[in-house]
């Protein structure tokens, strides 16, 4: 009886030991796996929205600390706010307003960023046969897309001579700008958002962010890789979509690149079966009608933004030639809904549904 008891006891002790060893091993395993799975997971994605430049700006960054991320994002928001103050031609005291008010009168001293913006805008004008033209301001002023107001042909004819990018005189040495003729108006709406995305991304980098995504509405700048070491994935909106921004036609992965899209669905009204939208041809003063949407991918957001507008107005054939010449990538959806792609985008773009 005693011996049997002893045997049972020793067996129990043995069993217990095995259980303890198993428990210890599994604990160690758990701890180790948690620790190792933590290493790649340590970096997280932080995202913040703010209404700036009359649109929704979303900044996403990869960081291992919430504080660092938020500080960097706030600094980038401030940069965009600063650019908005300089470039907004609706505000009474922006530098662009000063230039516009002194049109035909005197040259105006401007900051570095306005000088850069104007130089870039002129570069795009020269490469799009003037299809992109920031002096379109007086024509835009004749339209009201909310109130469905459009000018008659006579009014447009009278105003059109004021539209010519060659009448912007930029003096780099003195940092001054002069509009040659009275009544001229600069409107940076087609380039400022892309430029702001560039500058915001630079600010994030200066704050030590290694990877981020700045989206000033549809003008997007991406740099670095996500925590899973994959590039940022951007959706391109389907031009047929009705108000649903999540209706995506195609996706593309971007690393250290910018993408912008111009579409005839952004600001428009229908009248007499015709679509009047904000992408106005500087030669005619009317909405351009050869495309439905144009997406451009290149290093600089300012160029992606402005060329998207310019090529929308130029049309698919000429547009593709411009992109090839400059080494930019892009997708042009023509008025029939047919996509035209550059060689380089073909291998990278992923269509979600076939576009007829």
């Amino acid at each position: 009886m005693n011996i049997r008891q002893h045997v049972v006891d020793s067996r129990l002790v043995k069993a217990k030991r095995i259980v303890i060893i198993c428990c210890l091993l599994s604990t160690v395993y758990c701890l180790l796996s948690t620790a190792f799975s933590c290493v790649p997971q340590k970096e997280k994605i932080f995202k913040k929205d703010k209404i700036l430049m009359d649109t929704l700006v979303t900044i996403t960054v990869v960081s291992d600390s919430k504080d660092t991320a938020e500080k960097a994002i706030d600094a980038a928001f401030s940069e965009i706010e600063y650019l908005e103050k300089l470039s907004n031609h609706y505000s009474p005291d922006s530098e662009i307003t000063h230039i516009n008010r002194n049109a035909g009168i005197s040259e105006v001293k401007v900051s570095y960023d306005i000088l850069k913006l104007l130089e870039k805008a002129l570069y795009v004008s020269e490469n799009t046969e003037g299809a992109f033209d920031i002096t379109i301001g007086p024509v835009i002023a004749l339209y009201d897309f909310h109130k469905k107001i459009r000018p008659d042909d006579g009014m447009i004819k009278k105003i059109l001579p004021l539209v010519n990018y060659r009448d912007i005189i930029v003096n780099r040495g003195r940092s001054t700008v002069l509009l040659k003729r009275k009544g001229m108006l600069i409107d940076l709406g087609g380039i400022a958002k892309g430029y702001a995305a560039d500058k915001a991304a630079d600010t994030l980098k200066k704050q030590g962010v290694r990877s981020g995504l700045v989206a000033v509405a549809g003008d997007i700048k991406a740099f670095g890789l996500k925590p899973d070491e994959k590039p940022w994935k951007i959706g391109i909106r389907n031009p047929e979509a009705k108000n649903k921004e999540d209706d995506i036609m195609a996706t593309i992965e971007l690393e250290d690149m910018a993408i912008s899209t111009s579409g005839d669905y952004e600001r428009f009204f229908l009248s007499g079966g015709k679509r009047y939208h904000h992408l106005l041809n500087p030669k005619t003063g009317l909405s351009a009608n050869e495309c439905r949407s144009v997406s451009i991918i290149t290093k600089e957001g300012a160029y992606a933004d402005a060329f998207a507008t310019g090529i929308f107005i130029l049309g698919p054939e000429k547009g593709l030639k411009v992109l090839d010449k400059l080494g930019f990538e892009g997708m042009i959806i023509d008025s029939q809904g047919k996509p035209h792609l550059t060689q380089g985008i073909r291998e990278r773009i992923e269509f979600k549904r076939t576009v007829s």
Binding site: C23, D49, I51, H146, W232, I248
Partner: protein, 129 residues
């Protein structure tokens, strides 16, 4: 064997391991909660400042005061829409029901954002166009 007997049969090591396991499983829950996105909340911002953080599983109607007036937001069956807005173009109302992403009313500075319903299924990081 009663519970007390069972307790007496355990050694100090047993108890340490037992409590360690409990701590570990609890921290596991906290860990997972930290990693998973809060997919069941709705954030409403007015002029950049958070006005509401609401759960999506409770149907209700809330209103916020923007610079132009009252914007009314409805939550129903994990979806959100704006039903009333003082803005002139009413784009926010036209957006309709939304189950992910955001609804924005620029004139009244109201931004409504939703957590992604399933982060793993999420297809894009941003949209152009």
């Amino acid at each position: 064997m009663s519970l007390r007997e069972l307790f007496h049969n355990t050694t100090l090591a047993d108890r340490i391991i037992f409590s360690l396991m409990i701590v570990l499983s609890l921290s596991g829950i906290a860990f997972i909660k930290e990693i998973l996105p809060d997919n069941s909340t709705l954030h409403i911002y007015v002029d950049g400042r958070p006005a509401y953080i609401l759960p999506l599983d409770k149907n209700r109607v809330v209103s916020v005061e923007g610079p132009q007036g009252k914007t009314v937001v409805e939550i129903k069956d994990h979806q959100v829409r704006i039903i009333e807005s003082p803005c002139h173009n009413k784009l926010c109302i036209q957006t309709g029901w939304v189950s992910s992403g955001a609804i924005v009313c620029l004139p009244n500075r109201v931004v409504v954002t939703l957590g992604d319903p399933d982060k793993h299924k999420k297809t894009v990081d941003a949209t152009t166009g």
